[in-house]
Symmetry: C2
Subunit: 209 residues, 2 copies
DNA sequence: TTGTCAATTGTCAGTAGCTGTCATTACCGT
DNA sequence: ACGGTAATGACAGCTACTGACAATTGACAA
């Protein structure tokens, strides 16, 4: 199962990710060439493109993994929760596991810096949003399944996931723009934003929230 | 004000847009080269890139204009509406004006087909989502201004716009995937989806909606 | 009308992302 | 040890995009 071949591939892939992230963080995404990344790991450019379909993919690899873990955590939820609670509670519960999974690939600190690079690099932000949309569709299917409704007829699963995901992305974006971004802070900011979902929709906003 | 130079530029730009859209719709975005577009309008490739920063931009030009018009319509709203009502009512009111503005550049039918191309082409979808995010930020500022709150301290403007925009994009996406996409249908679908925003968030979903 | 200035355009050369192909190397199971 | 298969490197090629410079064309005043 874990032949030498497999392990070597895994190591090369992780090395490419870490090397790429370090270059992206230090000199910027656009100013880093694929040749530089390949050279840093001592493989050919062609090999890089055998591991990652494009330059964006290596930048978003960890982010995508986080999204996937969240999705799996949603799927593993016990039945009986309301759809919104399901999405919300998963957030609290999955946090630590996600952090550990990230650290198996790259230092957490590097990942946090990479989040900022993603938010501030137009091409990466665009790709990230698209990947998020794909994940949303998977969430829609799961939420619909749990609630026992048909996602093609009932708009509520899509509406709920769209609203929730929109708020999540906004929270992540606001968090990444702070200069002291840490994991706990992320947890707090997302919690705060999601909690405001109800109040923000009510007819009148009273005084300063 | 309308010198020959200005008019000529406008005409070239519109010709590039229409030619590009026709090529994208008939043979696909990825399979259309910038050289083909330039050739269709009989200008050099270099000139194309003087009108549009990149290939995506010519594909998203009309979409961006629509977003801009919606934003301006929001800004022109009378005071006193609740934030959510403001966003929602603008939708109803601005529809016809937007349609007319589009037709001054490209046939409406071509634009509708182009919407489908955008939704189904990864690179275009990604760029479109990013442009939408920029527009959301402008909406946040305007909503915060109208409500007299500080968007940097109070999360509600961002949360509201994120939720609303998420639902809008979902509606647009669902609409574009029908095979009989028309303007009226778009109006109806978006209306339906936005109306579900409240119900989708409530704790329990009763029976099939 | 004509000449001058500035804006627009075309041409050319170059970089970077990405792909197909084929020979070579490295691992795996027998 | 050996044959087969997977991974890699080297190379050629395409397309998006950019900088630089020369040529053209419309604007505007003398």
């Amino acid at each position: 199962m874990t032949g030498l071949r497999e392990r070597k591939k895994q190591r090369t892939r992780d090395a490419l990710i870490v090397a790429a992230h370090e270059l992206f963080v230090t000199q910027g995404y656009e100013d880093t060439t694929v040749d530089q990344i390949a050279e840093a790991v001592d493989v050919s450019q062609r090999t890089f493109f055998r591991y990652f379909a494009n330059k964006e993919e290596v930048a978003l690899f960890v982010q995508d993994m986080v999204g996937q873990l969240y999705y799996e955590a949603v799927c593993a939820r016990p039945a009986g929760e309301s759809p919104l609670d399901c999405l919300r509670n998963t957030l609290d519960d999955a946090w630590d596991d996600v952090g550990e999974a990230v650290e198996e690939i790259t230092p957490l600190d590097l990942h946090l810096k990479m989040c900022q690079v993603i938010e501030t690099t137009p091409a990466l932000l665009a790709a990230h949003l698209r990947h998020s949309l794909l994940m949303e569709e998977k969430l829609v299917q799961e939420i619909a399944r749990r609630a026992g409704v048909d996602a093609e007829k009932d708009p509520r699963p899509r509406v709920l996931v769209a609203a929730f995901s929109g708020v999540m992305r906004t929270a992540a974006r606001q968090w990444s723009m702070r200069n002291d971004s840490s994991l706990q802070l992320a947890r707090q900011v997302t919690g705060d934003y999601v909690a405001q979902l109800g109040p923000a929709l009510t007819a009148d906003w009273g005084q300063q929230g």
